[in-house]
Symmetry: C2
Subunit: 324 residues, 2 copies
């Protein structure tokens, strides 16, 4: 608890803050950034929320999103007493904002990733938290900051997106208690659901159908894969959850998504259901990730890469069976 | 609170119970039935859990599901002190179990539907509850019954399925607090997710792709519809959530699913996003439902029914615009 108290003391006593989060920002990154930023602003602090990229269109609904400034648009780049990085494993993850953050008198690192590098002068790293937003909520409550409806909406979005709407394995009793509290603080449940799940483009839905049509399954039904060839690839291919359709099939243990890149490489994403360590599989091809979600990029012809990867996955599954 | 206390007194003092739920049982129906049944069994009561249909395959993973008996397989059909109907709006909803329930000395009705007909001697009807499982949890806690991991798994499933994994508008702070408590009681989160969302058949996925390919949108983009013709219909057409894909599109207010039935009728399902009262639309064609989800069946040729329904929906939207 000492770290939390140190941070609360700094939030209360210092005046100038620069806050940022990681590149390719998701709901947890932006929700946490905005929640803490708004809480400090509401307490009369001088706060700059910066990001190295524009806020992605699908997250511009978040209250306060219009206050996030691109690094290059910031005029006064020095003199911040406190720099805060949210949801970042290491300082390079903040992109162009890195230099700016390093000029602050003190860096606070608030994150929940197991690979966090403790790059701050103060590090609040809680790997059992499902989302950084869950940690920010705890911090604000403990510090006696008022959770306004806008702040609650940001934190609720953070938790929903990082837990896959309370479906992922990282979902805990504390996620649920935090969500309950945020609803009571005025989190705009329907508004959030509408913006997260009911703003799909027709092009994106058609793309999804095209990809689903490529679904194949190996002989024993344990591996299912889909392929995004260049000709079905679109601007709107927000395909993060597409691979879950492969994994959702009964009997399938490993889902694989192949994507032809313009670089001539094939991007390969792996997901496993309950026992295959896909991190090892991806590592075999020079990639990495987690036990249940990993990826790699392989140079070569699409057909050959697919054969190679599927054969390797089959070998891996066969070894597992032999070992049992 | 008086009703709850009356029910607890009966649960504690009576010995023989018959419990049932509605036909076409879903996760809330079965989860509530099993949770209350197991709690009574654990307290040494004589309990029969009956159902007018076999437990659907996708819910057979629920702890205790194998103890649910089909009405016709029950040998001793009289002498129950207490009959309990869970998640039923009226007594006819229990199907073949109705007669049996009516023979009990006392009927307890535990339900959360607004249309509940208060058919019991004791009626615990909480329309603000998202799920009957949420009410059963409150009842068990208040009565001091131990929530075992098996009971928790049933109640957690009830809440997940009736809230669409905490996405629907019925999600409340109490849902989240109940879910938190159930996780702490040992609800098997990953096991439930796996059984609810990762047991899809290949046939069902292919069916989904076929239906998604029929997606059409009207000129101003406010109505999206899909069609299940007889030739793409399959045994595996568990299509409850398919219509949500139509509604998920940006700009779409009304999603419609047309399904050709063997009877020569067309089943029409409506969903609306934020302001159209589809209950009124469905009522125009002799159907009904709720403001955001409703349906009807129309006799006629598929093409003509589609034209008719889409024209009526367009008229309805035009009237709304004119009124604004």
């Amino acid at each position: 608890m000492e770290v939390i108290e140190d941070i609360i003391k700094i939030l209360k006593t210092k005046q100038t803050f620069v806050l940022t989060t990681h590149i390719h920002a998701d709901g947890d990154a932006l929700g946490s950034l905005l929640a803490l930023g708004l809480a400090l602003l509401n307490n009369g602090k001088d706060v700059v929320m910066i990001h190295s990229e524009p806020v992605p269109e699908n997250y511009r609904f978040l209250p306060g999103a219009e206050q996030v400034i691109m690094v290059q648009d910031l005029k006064e780049k020095e003199g911040f007493e406190v720099g805060i990085a949210l949801d970042c494993t290491d300082l390079s993850r903040v992109g162009d904002a890195e230099q700016l953050l390093q000029k602050a008198d003190c860096i606070i690192n608030i994150d929940h990733h197991i690979s966090n590098e403790y790059f701050g002068q103060i590090n609040m790293v809680e790997t059992e938290a499902a989302a950084t937003g869950e940690m920010v909520c705890g911090l604000l409550v403990k510090g006696g900051f008022t959770i306004t409806p806008d702040i609650a909406t940001n934190l609720y979005t953070a938790i929903i997106t990082d837990t896959g709407s309370f479906r992922h394995q990282n979902t805990t009793a504390n996620c649920f208690r935090t969500a309950a509290y945020l609803l009571e603080c005025g989190a705009a449940h329907s508004f959030i659901q509408h913006n997260l799940y009911e703003q799909r483009s027709l092009q994106n839905l058609r793309f999804m159908v095209n990809v689903l049509q490529t679904l194949s399954i190996n002989e024993n039904g344990q591996i299912a894969w889909m392929t995004i060839t260049k000709d079905i690839s679109t601007e709107a291919d927000n395909n993060d959850s597409l691979i879950d359709y492969a994994k959702s099939l009964k009997g399938v243990e490993v889902g694989i998504l192949f994507k032809e890149l313009d670089s001539g490489e094939i991007k390969v994403s792996f997901r496993s259901k309950s026992y295959v360590d896909v991190n090892q599989l991806a590592a075999h091809f020079g990639g990495g990730g987690h036990e249940r979600a990993a990826g790699c990029s392989i140079k070569g012809d699409l057909k050959e890469v697919k054969q190679l990867v599927i054969r390797k996955t089959e070998e891996y599954l066969a070894k597992r069976r032999a070992a049992e």
